[in-house]
Subunit: 217 residues, 2 copies
DNA sequence: TATATATCGATAACTCTTTATCGATATATC
DNA sequence: GATATATCGATAAAGAGTTATCGATATATA
């Protein structure tokens, strides 16, 4: 199992590196530069980058172009693959319109909803749920974004799984049950804000001890 | 309370517990039940809960009501505090309409944008950026959600800081620079999806050598 | 009352992640 | 060519987080 020594933690930082590397203009970039820009430890950056790009050179750093390519390769951004949105409410439609996905090799191809509202002014089709199965099979879509109301989440998820979706990004605040073969990632925005509230010390209970400014959680 | 023994990891799970506890109907709930429901380890749940609720009893479990209260207390949900949205685009307006924040003691009070579009049909005001400073000071708002285009992010963030915002939830994909006194949490949706793409094994780039299915991340 | 059982809390063992240290090397300067 | 310096990769140490184990205890049952 020595094929990918990429730990979860490292994996989570790779997109961050890519984001920054894309802004670098110089031919080479050192771990120290990256570390400073992203507020990470220099050694950590070196360790992360070494694990995916063997082109680092003493005194020089990493060749920017090569590093970017390697990052994109590992992150699977060479090709753009399609995703669907399930639940064409406000959030769902906002995500459809969001063009930031392309940078990461993803494209939202369509949305599905039980109530098909007017989608004539949208650039991408909003289709009735009944068509999801056929549509996803036909277009070989395996990634779905779930943005339905909590009450409809489980049923929608079931239909997604049934349609061949194997990876779900859920914005629903309740947990959903899926087979082991399907991966679910919850993106609880309210929860994120709540954490921020805590971190920012707006709740009487503060974790007052880490003074070295790393502000994740 | 001096219980600053709450690790980041634990902190991140507390809202998850709260979410589930709120659905529990029985008078008491055991760590095993919670663990099963959330797919966590039984011991881990016990450790987490023990750190915030001393009312666990052998053979009984935790008193549901008491546990909920303690969770809400630690998470600072006793009182609802206001937040503002900066950038009233599609995502910004979708977040304004999202009512899941209240469950976590947060409420979006208003939005600000450079171009003030028609907000007469919105329940909450969308105001011009120029008014942010005064408005936030007057209403004592210290949490902001940043949903402007990447190019406008830094300037908007500066204005937020200047308006007294000390915690920012950013949906912008570029890093923003803020003083040390301000906490920023990035919520990169595209990035989340990208990770999912990797996890779901759609980027055949991860395991080139023989792999035994090391399913990390 | 005695025994059995479910469950907690604490300690310890383990694993994962981060940080520190150090020798090696590419380039620059003398 | 010799020396200095920036930077890498590797190894080791330290720190966090997770999982396993075990004794203690509240209730149930005989």
């Amino acid at each position: 199992m020595r094929s990918s020594t990429l730990s979860k933690a490292t994996m989570g930082r790779l997109p961050l590196y890519l984001q920054f590397i894309r802004t670098v203009q110089t031919e080479n970039v050192s771990s120290a530069t990256v570390a400073r820009a992203l507020g990470l430890g220099e050694v950590q950056v070196r360790k992360d980058l070494a694990s995916i790009c063997p082109a680092g050179m003493p005194k020089i750093g990493y060749p920017t172009e090569r590093l970017r390519e390697d990052l994109e390769a590992v992150l699977g951004m060479k090709q753009t693959i399609p995703a669907v949105v399930v639940g064409a409410g406000k959030l769902g439609r906002a995500l459809m319109a969001y063009d930031g996905f392309r940078e990461y090799g993803l494209e939202i191809a369509a949305a599905f909803d039980t109530r098909v509202t007017d989608s004539s002014h949208e650039r991408k089709p909003i289709l009735p749920m009944e068509q999801m199965h056929g549509w996803c099979r036909e277009h070989e879509v395996h990634i779905g974004i779930l943005t339905v109301p909590a009450g409809a989440a489980q049923e929608a998820a079931d239909q997604m799984v049934n349609s061949g979706i194997t990876a779900i990004l859920s914005f629903v605040s309740v947990p959903i049950r899926v087979p082991d073969t399907v991966t679910v990632k919850h993106e609880n925005i309210a929860l994120s804000l709540a954490c921020l509230k805590i971190v920012a010390g707006m709740s009487n209970e503060t974790t007052e001890e880490d003074s070295h400014g790393s502000e994740d959680l």
